[in-house]
């Protein structure tokens, strides 16, 4: 029983701190996304607008996110019953939105108003060959071509 105490403590820390962090992150994301709303993002080639474009450059946003012990236990229990693993869904969603926000911030720094040909990728970083299942972490990246309109190039 005593052996379980550290694990329980980790789960409680995950529940309290992890959830508070998650709520704060969602609030920050909402604010950043609102501020960056005027930068249009699409995953097509955007050829219609290319005539009015002065230049295009590669922009990348990335983030590495990890689970906490509460999410891990919640997911382990939920996967017994099957269905959506909500604790991982929110984690990956946060990571992906953060990556997109960072990509848009880079585009803004370069004076771009649109990002086209955007690709999203997820890479799991938590494979381990020790046999023991490590904590889950993943890198989420968003990248695309930021288009700078002709009029703004001088600025």
């Amino acid at each position: 029983m005593e052996a379980l105490i550290p694990l329980l403590a980790l789960i409680v820390i995950g529940f309290v701190v992890g959830r508070a962090n998650e709520r704060r992150h969602y609030r920050e994301l909402a604010a950043l996304e609102a501020a960056l709303r005027d930068i249009e993002v699409s995953n097509d080639r955007g050829t219609a607008e290319l005539g009015a474009v002065a230049s295009g450059t590669l922009v990348v946003g990335s983030v590495v996110i990890a689970e906490d012990y509460f999410k891990r236990i919640a997911a382990a229990l939920k996967s017994l019953a099957g269905g959506n693993l909500r604790s991982y869904e929110t984690l990956l969603e946060r990571g992906r939105r953060e990556a997109i926000v960072r990509m848009k911030e880079e585009a803004r720094c370069r004076g771009a108003t649109r990002i086209v040909c955007v690709r999203l990728e997820t890479a799991s970083l938590s494979e381990d060959f020790s046999g023991r299942r490590p904590m889950f972490s993943a890198e989420l990246i968003a990248y695309g071509t930021a288009l700078v309109p002709k009029a703004q190039r001088a600025a």
Binding site: L58, V60, E67, K71, T145
Partner: protein
């Protein structure tokens, strides 16, 4: 060197295709970073040291790709894609690839 994920360079025309170019790096997390990330894992969320590590690796992979393109006589790389693969505990490969072209 113009870099883009599009099939062409905005405002320019491709005059020559020089084929596929790629660059990759395999980086290990160093011990200090791993310990900090291990502590951070208790509360979950972003592992900033790994974000920085992989961003550095990606820039290096891009640089190697650009070097290859330059050696082939290109002045732009189009259709750039990234891929990350976890190849061993504590090490990740980051690669960048694209098509080297000459634009004017």
């Amino acid at each position: 060197m113009e870099l883009t994920t599009l099939e062409s360079v905005p405002g320019k025309t491709i005059t020559r295709h020089l084929g596929l170019v790629q660059g990759s790096t395999v980086r290990a997390k160093h011990v200090g970073r791993d310990i900090l990330a291990g502590l951070k894992n208790i509360v979950g969320g972003e592992l900033k040291s790994y974000t920085a590590l992989l961003a550095e690796s990606r820039n290096e992979a891009l640089e190697r790709m650009v070097e290859q393109a330059r050696a082939a006589g290109a002045n732009a790389v189009v259709n750039i894609r990234f891929a990350t693969a976890n190849i061993a505990a504590g090490a990740a490969e980051v690669m960048a690839y694209g098509t080297a072209v000459v634009v004017s």
